[in-house]
Amino acid sequence: MTTDPEWVLSLENVSKNFGGVKALTDVSFRVKPGEVHCLAGENGCGKSTLIKIITGVYTPSPGAKLNILGKEIEHITPALAREMGISVIWQDLALFPHMSVAENISFDEVVGFWPKLVRTETFKPKVEAILKRLNVEMDLDEPIKDLPIAQRQIVAIARALMGNAKLIFMDEPTSSLTQSETNMLMRIVQKLSEDGVAVVFVSHRLAEVLAISSQVTVLRDGYLVGVFPTEGMTQTKLAELMTNLTLVNEVTATPDIDTESILEIENLSRENEFQNVSLNIKKGEIVGLTGLIGAGRTELAHALIGMTKPTSGTIKLGGKEVNFSSIRDAILEGIAYVSEDRLSLGLIQPQSIADNIVTTVLNRILTFMGFVSTKKKETMVNYWIKELAIRIGESSDAVSTLSGGNQQRVVLAKWLATEPQLMILDNPTVGVDVGARAGIFRIVKSLAEQGMGILLISDEVHEVHFNSDRVLVMTNGEINLEHNPLEHSVEQLESIVYA
């Protein structure tokens, strides 16, 4: 490439229909060499369709113009996209767990129809050079399955660079990384950018994305909303662009809750996870718990529900000291835990909505013979669907057919059916559209008003600030600050958490 084109990638008039559904309408998208760009939008806005068009997985409707490194491309295929220097790092990384680091990084070199002789040794010098360029050291013979997730991510990046990538798409790259791992990834992205490799982030963690990228392209319902510089962009403004809703953020905290305590924790510690945590949740109180990823929030929740054993300290529930040996014990004592990973842990996706709702309370809907009573089941399912306003076709439809927001309501219904006195919500809005989040929090608030104690764990500072009665900030396994949303602003809380 002798000339230095202005855009590494330039798309114009891209439309795509699936049957009668318009996934993309007249979208354009441009990335400069070495730029860190963010592609933002809600679920179903067309982000992944766009990536799949760029990488040749889908063909756009006629009229689309695709230009890579100054060259007009008539028809793009996955192989051509790779040859032209466009790589995608998928959310699941798409690596081969039983193959070694070197074999994974060099894998794309061996793909082909016709048999050819290959030896991993011949690729090793190039693989080593790439890892050196990224400033990381790795054992090339280690199988991927033995590496932590952050290292796997680096392997995926190195694999993209093996094909001389000029533009790398990263789909939700930080969703399972701790804070220090995220920082390392960000440093690598910075390094790539300096070397002239453009990076496009697709992420729901708006704060992180805004911090590192220079431009953000926003899509909504298959239309381009616009391209904005990230300087001066706030999370709220970005969320509004994505949803086209004016998001009224009002502090919903109730001042001076004076009821008896449901949960009292004193000096709770677990080795390498959290130390000397003390907290108190009263009846009808929503306590927010935030902090950076890896601060020990989820670990604390796991100890509270008996998934792990704390090394020292006490947990009192309703004034009585408890010592759970399993989650079952915790459920019986009235604690419900809505896990972060709804897709794999919270719901049984292929089963029906009704079956999912009653899984926690099967013993309460039995006939005297010990069979599941269809009548009792129906009554219970209908009650919760109505109570939580879950929008469904039939209660016999599979859960996987629902949107993220409605799935989360099914999870809530499932746990509310156990009639808990304390509910722990771990990142309840992950994968839920910004517009649907308010509905979830309205339910949470009304549960608190009925006297339930709620521990709301979230990455997103805004979420806890606006929806909790008080907020605890956790850093490196310790709770070191209590924030009152009625007295201090969300910016103050942000500056503390991200300090």
Partner: protein, 337 residues
């Protein structure tokens, strides 16, 4: 690669090797016949067919599939080949390998086409073809054996002969040479070709392989076609050893071979397995049986011991993961490998 690393990456193989060495040592003390040349050569002669099947099955297991039909397929190949040789005016060894290899590949491709075309898991398809192949074979042959075979096919060919001091002969027959050829060819395929690497990748993470542009239909065709070819060649060599074609002679051998390959560290989920492990697995089963015979133990004990060995091998290789899971549940919850 440092030596300890080699051991760490081939844990199952190394463990099996140690067990095998200890077993051989014990048997050589318990029975003076065990280490005799005659016993060792007959061990190889008797297991050549199993080894040919085993390396074929290894390729299928690496690609994430399973094949139950190969032993019956070998019987089908024997019959069809015998008919073909009659039609071709007798045939010879070159034609023999060509015909039986091609018929075997054809039968393998039937499996591959059904598995890929209907997206049905391989165990279901190959159980179905196992029954279909066997049923058709019994129907058309009415269960009759064939004794009238071309002489080139049934004549004994030795690649090694030795008369010991007391006058007994020990020899290696052609099947052993063919077996070595098949093992080397499979080793080259899975270890040193791009196709082999893609087979491992497809077995390891099919979706990732698809996204990387691996031709999935081709992978299925290579895996089951290779298995079919090995089944055909094994069928050809089996006839050379027993000098007759019996329709139900090989029926039931598939599970023995499958057990041996799994014992050798091939992962039933795909993406893992080595030639070394495969050879050790088959030899472990063979030597166990041989040892029990020499020691005069009831043949019924054999199956029990093989079953027990598989349980021990499979469960001990999971203990490591189990203890890790206990210490750090989050690791296994987040990553879905």
């Amino acid at each position: 690669m440092p030596r300890w690393k080699l051991v760490a990456n081939y844990t199952v193989e190394m463990r099996l090797l140690v067990v095998l060495v200890i077993m051989c040592f014990g048997l050589s003390l318990a029975s003076d016949q065990f280490l005799s040349l005659g016993n060792l050569t007959s061990l190889l002669n008797n297991n050549a067919v199993n080894l040919i099947w085993a390396v074929g099955l290894l390729v299928v297991l690496i690609s994430g599939g399973i094949d139950i039909s190969f032993a019956v397929a070998a019987s089908v190949v024997q019959y069809v080949a015998a008919y073909c040789f009659g039609f071709l005016g007798g045939g010879n060894w070159i034609l023999g390998f060509l015909v039986s290899g091609l018929i075997g590949i054809g039968l393998g491709l039937i499996n591959a086409t059904l598995i890929h075309g209907f997206r049905i898991i391989s165990i279901v398809i190959t159980i179905a073809t196992f029954n279909a192949f066997f049923g058709l074979l019994m129907f058309f042959t009415s269960g009759r054996n064939i004794y009238n075979l071309p002489s080139w096919w049934t004549s004994r060919i030795f690649i090694f002969e030795h008369q010991s001091a007391n006058g007994t002969w020990s020899e290696l027959n052609l099947a052993v040479a063919v077996m070595i050829g098949c093992v080397v060819a499979t080793w080259i395929l899975i270890r040193f070709t791009g196709t082999g690497r893609q087979l491992y990748a497809f077995g390891d993470n099919p979706e990732a392989a698809r996204r990387a542009g691996v031709n999935i239909a081709l992978m299925q065709a290579v895996a089951y076609g290779w298995m079919g070819m090995m089944a055909g060649i094994a069928g050809l060599m089996q006839v050379n050893i027993v000098k007759e074609v019996i329709p139900n002679a090989l029926y039931g051998r598939e599970l023995e071979v499958l057990a041996a390959v799994v014992l050798g560290g091939a992962r039933l989920g795909g993406g893992k397995g080595s030639i070394l492990g495969c050879l050790l697995g088959v030899m472990f089963v063979a030597i166990t049986q041989n040892g029990l015979n020499l020691l005069g133990v009831s043949p019924f004990a054999f199956q029990m011991i093989i079953g027990g060995s598989i349980l021990i091998a499979v469960s001990t290789s999971n203990i490591q993961i189990g203890s890790d899971l206990f210490k750090n549940p989050g690791k296994y919850i987040r990553t879905r490998y």
